[in-house]
Symmetry: D3
Subunit: 313 residues, 6 copies
Amino acid sequence: MNMPIKPAGQAAFKDRYTTKVAELLKPWEEGERGAAAILGVPLSKPSISHSGASFAPGAIRNALNGFTTYRIESGQDLTSPIIDFGDVVMHPTSIMESHERITTAVRQVLTQEAAPFTILLGGDHSITTSAVKAFCEEKGTVGIIQFDAHHDLRNTEDGGPTNGTPFRRLLQEGIIKGENLIQIGIRNYSNAKAYHEYALDQGVTVHTMKDVRERGTAELVRQGIEMLKGRVDVIYLSVDMDVLDQSYAPGCPAISPGGMNPEELLEGLHEALKHPGVRAMDIVEIDPTLDFRDMTSRIAALLVVETAALLNT
Amino acid sequence: MNMPIKPAGQAAFKDRYTTKVAELLKPWEEGERGAAAILGVPLSKPSISHSGASFAPGAIRNALNGFTTYRIESGQDLTSPIIDFGDVVMHPTSIMESHERITTAVRQVLTQEAAPFTILLGGDHSITTSAVKAFCEEKGTVGIIQFDAHHDLRNTEDGGPTNGTPFRRLLQEGIIKGENLIQIGIRNYSNAKAYHEYALDQGVTVHTMKDVRERGTAELVRQGIEMLKGRVDVIYLSVDMDVLDQSYAPGCPAISPGGMNPEELLEGLHEALKHPGVRAMDIVEIDPTLDFRDMTSRIAALLVVETAALLNT
Amino acid sequence: MNMPIKPAGQAAFKDRYTTKVAELLKPWEEGERGAAAILGVPLSKPSISHSGASFAPGAIRNALNGFTTYRIESGQDLTSPIIDFGDVVMHPTSIMESHERITTAVRQVLTQEAAPFTILLGGDHSITTSAVKAFCEEKGTVGIIQFDAHHDLRNTEDGGPTNGTPFRRLLQEGIIKGENLIQIGIRNYSNAKAYHEYALDQGVTVHTMKDVRERGTAELVRQGIEMLKGRVDVIYLSVDMDVLDQSYAPGCPAISPGGMNPEELLEGLHEALKHPGVRAMDIVEIDPTLDFRDMTSRIAALLVVETAALLNT
Amino acid sequence: MNMPIKPAGQAAFKDRYTTKVAELLKPWEEGERGAAAILGVPLSKPSISHSGASFAPGAIRNALNGFTTYRIESGQDLTSPIIDFGDVVMHPTSIMESHERITTAVRQVLTQEAAPFTILLGGDHSITTSAVKAFCEEKGTVGIIQFDAHHDLRNTEDGGPTNGTPFRRLLQEGIIKGENLIQIGIRNYSNAKAYHEYALDQGVTVHTMKDVRERGTAELVRQGIEMLKGRVDVIYLSVDMDVLDQSYAPGCPAISPGGMNPEELLEGLHEALKHPGVRAMDIVEIDPTLDFRDMTSRIAALLVVETAALLNT
Amino acid sequence: MNMPIKPAGQAAFKDRYTTKVAELLKPWEEGERGAAAILGVPLSKPSISHSGASFAPGAIRNALNGFTTYRIESGQDLTSPIIDFGDVVMHPTSIMESHERITTAVRQVLTQEAAPFTILLGGDHSITTSAVKAFCEEKGTVGIIQFDAHHDLRNTEDGGPTNGTPFRRLLQEGIIKGENLIQIGIRNYSNAKAYHEYALDQGVTVHTMKDVRERGTAELVRQGIEMLKGRVDVIYLSVDMDVLDQSYAPGCPAISPGGMNPEELLEGLHEALKHPGVRAMDIVEIDPTLDFRDMTSRIAALLVVETAALLNT
Amino acid sequence: MNMPIKPAGQAAFKDRYTTKVAELLKPWEEGERGAAAILGVPLSKPSISHSGASFAPGAIRNALNGFTTYRIESGQDLTSPIIDFGDVVMHPTSIMESHERITTAVRQVLTQEAAPFTILLGGDHSITTSAVKAFCEEKGTVGIIQFDAHHDLRNTEDGGPTNGTPFRRLLQEGIIKGENLIQIGIRNYSNAKAYHEYALDQGVTVHTMKDVRERGTAELVRQGIEMLKGRVDVIYLSVDMDVLDQSYAPGCPAISPGGMNPEELLEGLHEALKHPGVRAMDIVEIDPTLDFRDMTSRIAALLVVETAALLNT
Ligand SMILES: [Ca+2]
Ligand SMILES: [Ca+2]
Ligand SMILES: [Ca+2]
Ligand SMILES: [Ca+2]
Ligand SMILES: [Ca+2]
Ligand SMILES: [Ca+2]
Ligand SMILES: [Ca+2]
Ligand SMILES: [Ca+2]
Ligand SMILES: [Ca+2]
Ligand SMILES: [Ca+2]
Ligand SMILES: [Ca+2]
Ligand SMILES: [Ca+2]
């Protein structure tokens, strides 16, 4: 029977020549292969302040409906599927258990080898420790390029595995070395002096917004990768969306003026993706309940799409 | 592999002993049978004023996640599936075509005989004409009990098949007779005198809010069904949510004070469902973009659930 | 030329048989007569707390577009114009000057004798002093029936002619006598004991919400008018919308639970309008910037319409 | 020097004869005594769904600025201080630790004997287990009267000490007996059948909304206390604000139609406070980030004020 | 009589030396002449996704109250009236009829010769086809410079005359030639490859955001006009506000990152207005129900004002 | 006793190594000294349009919780207290009295000599007249550098001491000379020609946004201070936040496109703070009720922090 009916939840309008990036998302099945793999990590209970970042994986996937597959400026039309592993199931009351599940899930995703690049959709920044742990276990030494207004190197006595401590925990637990952590976009009045000193003590490379303005993100990334190349097995990008200025990313819990614009972030991403050692990215700290018209999730979605596109060139 | 992962979009938490009514929704497949069938009719372009009622089928389905299957006051636990036929696919620019597709879709749903009762989730009130037309064609003479603040008997010269004319068109096209139309909840200052007179001329039974306060909805429905019983083959309930007071149903386009409370509407529904000739209901005029916390859709969802429950007794 | 064009700002849709109450509004011109006169009094700078009540005259007039002229329950179809005198022009920085302008404007409205009943659309409650002063000067002794959660009898040393002092100033300035002031709906935890005592000292009649629940507003109004009848030349209704419960009137600055429902307020109004000595009403304390979908202004508009309707019977 | 300056954060306007209930709040100091003690319990991370109930203690305290001390209907003017113990300091990432801190804090509050009645401002409903545990340890056998749409007796395997399990944990851990738990306001489609059966198996008294409508809350409370009187040392009221209908309490995470109105809840409270064994109350499940104009917190504040007032009679 | 009263709806404050651009708006009357003519085209039912663009003409006119007539940087003080033809009356249920009325109305406006330049305030982009048709019929060959993130060249089989097809319909119906269409601001991931190819096949000039960044809008417009000059009788600017970045124009239905800033759009406009052949502009795709503080309408209003100013130099 | 309790209102989480700028705020006490003094001036009733700028001092202080003391780009860690004098107590109904209280309060603050620099947190721009008057009386001749889209030189006949007249009143009352007033950021279509001419007649230096784009704020400020240096005893910065573009400062009453970005404003501030004669700043025209996520107050807070930091170098 030819019914003028579509399944509940399906898009209201379909143009036969247009493919939305969301249509490239393919729920994972054994053996499936794609340009990139994504995994939702909807955890925000570890956040220091109230955060709805657990809604971000859904918001970002939904924002992928706002992008077509065609990158007119380079003539590329994306066709490779993006393998969607779904979301890590979080424990309602045990944050430690949730963190462990993230490590388990990421390892399992990696062992599937469904794609050469893995994108994790946070969640708050606490997820990065668990995710990087999985990469270490599966891939060897990890180097990290972190885009963030904040060091995220707080002491763990005052709150444990919060979204203020992911890189501290990675360093303390010996999962990564300080010399393999590069921070870009660190902002005035957004960190304690003690943690900047800790970063320097640990050999972390710290680039402030002043460095970004003077040298550009592409140059900072290029230099960072140059430095990491011989030392690590895999490079992981960690994108805290609050590295962007509040006028561009109004949906982050910790918004403030003085950040990057999206163009600068994209230039950093473009540079990074030129290097085959860059194999993963997380996008964290978007709280869709605070955002305006999902603007911040739309930028996150653009990062996903650009990644898929540039991996294919 | 036992991954701590769930498909994207799935509920974050699952209690093993709890079933949400949304879980009873079963996408239609040939031969499937259930307690009730639902069909989304996401059309609001015919509305006289700007309306996002096309989002209501999604909002109501989503609200079904807020209800469990257990009706503690009667001890019933719903288990029969609700067959979900999905949504009618609307034409972006031809309202006439959309109206025709509704008739086609409803006829096809009826011929499937998937359930003894059909629930249409509007959409604006213009959809009722198309739906009732399908019932006429499939089931014979139709009687209608309409809950509404408004007659919806406007002339069709001033705008065509809008949400102000559904019953006018049914009468003019001879699809129903005026004597088989019962209106409950008609409100002061919400209609033109000319249309009240038209209603009386056509033999329509009109119960105002004053009648509701004096006699109660159950009594009005009982009397209405008594009257319709011998005359019609099937009785169709048409529930315009603006029959409720603005404090209860803030999400209708045409809110105003002086309406029913949800208890009164439910009593009318309970009475109607006692009679086997009552075979269908539409729920219309909810605009989720105007609502507060989907309160109006939650009441609509309760109407759906109560219908499923009472059909099973 | 017959252009398919309408002047900017005009309603998008016009049904030829339907008249909106807003269409009965007729900008005042010399010699014009109508069922009632309205005057906007957009003053809220005297409010103790931040208030946008100055937007209420516009919001209420606009809400009159949501009501047709037909009162189905009594069969009345309103046709008499409502003479709209526009808004008092307020001084941006001199509240005293604004208050004087209100008195001047109300006096001028009264001398026009454009209608037997005058409705003032506030503004905050501070406007009542100025308005009643005008009535005194033009009409003689004034009795007031005040619907309010609050006495509005605060001392004037702590802030001057605020929205907390209108009746205190009327009493202190000898414009009305305490025995001619009847307060209905006074609520627990909404007043200082000192002001209740002041009210009793002055001979003010005070009915709390408990009285409303036990005796009903109609009865309280009936008794009040009985008492005032011989003593005063004109009776003035002052309706502070916060007499309603917060669930019905979410747009008042001082919302709280425990108030009337709109039905109770309307019953009071209906009773009052039976008496020819009742000649004026103000509606105050709606802040449209705080409201939800102008619900509170819609109830205010219903008060206006009901007044016009009941004056005509 | 007499500066026209006030400390930052202080109220903008002060009427010399008016005292706000918020002014009765007195930060706890050793030896202080008052009519009631309050303790904020800002924990919502255990919630099954995203909840900002951790903001409720602040919102309720703030709402106390909207109430004066004068209860006009009984002539009472509150003067006894309400001892404010502040808020329990929660652990950012260990929910178990937070729950333990609640027990510790409540015990310490009780040992201070600062007031004959203790009010806990949640937080989500998970806090009740920890609080009742403290009462048990300090006061002996506890009976509970719970106002709630939900049993809150979910299994603990599927999420641990969430806001769905507080009474289950109390029963399982033997802290209270089922026969000493009375649930009022349980709603259709809001619970699993399995948990209703569990309640009955445990000897819990369950009153649905139908019971509320037929017998009234005062009667149900009276009977409950009669039953508990001989058996327990102290009676604890647990008020989940979602027992109220969504139109009155729009700020609860789990809103739905079909609940009590505030009057019904207050009648239950009034009845309970007549009995000297009733010594504590918690108010939970208000998420101020979802509320409209803090309506739900205002009702909660009224519960606090009424408690203080009725304890003093 | 000198009453301190102003007509309802008039601005609350008037400074005697300040003229708002909104005060230059003069409702059209036979024979009236002005610097520019405006016509509202409040149609958004053809939109593929839900759109309230029908509210934009009102929002833009209202935003003109936020601009004075004085252009300090050039010393110009606007005094010529802007002739306001009001709004095209749309048909509630026939989109075809509405489109025809637009053509009729625009033709009638043009025949009035009330101004040398005509500004159409949409509405969604579907209106452009109808408007350009009128220009063709009245003025001869039309060239179009389109500012847009999207080609708007979708096939018409999948939805008819939507806001995705205006230029396709113009080409298919032979109203304009592809070589006379210049698109500026076309964005990555915002179009299907098939439509880009269609554009190229038709000889359309396509400038992406990359071109904008590299060459600037002024240069692109200059070159475009150079090309069109000999070929067409009149040049029409079509400004889809979504050509702007989401951070500047948050009120467009199809927002995304990666667009122009307002300065770039203004530079394009300035360049275009240097050429006398440029005679009309439409401004489309603003949905005021989605905007934040009418920011997008304020930019649209600035386009209107700048046009009026630059036409006068 | 070691209770896991904190006083109500205190921050939920404290990291032992991190100090928020808000923690540097020290309520004023006799003899206290700090890097800067702040005084809240919560007055917005003089505003021409409805304004909640009276809430800004609270919002800005609160935003200081979003900034740590560490300025990573210069290595500075702020430790000097910021002396908080609290808020001027405003009169509810006498704007003249409120303005006088501001002068009194600022004089008293200055005589305390608690800090070398004073920051006033408005309020609307009307407060500047009263504040500058105090500086004149205490410090001698005052020069002003005003960042604003508007001249604020309106005539005072049409509304008195509004937020449109602060500099007019200063000039008319001879408190400052025109040659000592420098305006930066004046915008097209935001002023009347008459007032620009008045500015020039009075010898005011006027820099438009075009000047800002061509020469930069630092250069304009440098030149301004050069000019003022010999002539005045103290230089006062007056920062109307609407000098910023609407996309950055969405919370100003009079938003419009075409303004500065925050970087440009900061550069101007940095330049000004190099000169020891610059001794005060006001920050005005933020209405937190209109803002999005307090973005505008966050920029204001950054101005406060940067001032404190640069004063210390
Ligand atoms: Ca960060
Ligand atoms: Ca981070
Ligand atoms: Ca209706
Ligand atoms: Ca209807
Ligand atoms: Ca009042
Ligand atoms: Ca009141
Ligand atoms: Ca509960
Ligand atoms: Ca509950
Ligand atoms: Ca577009
Ligand atoms: Ca377009
Ligand atoms: Ca200013
Ligand atoms: Ca300004």
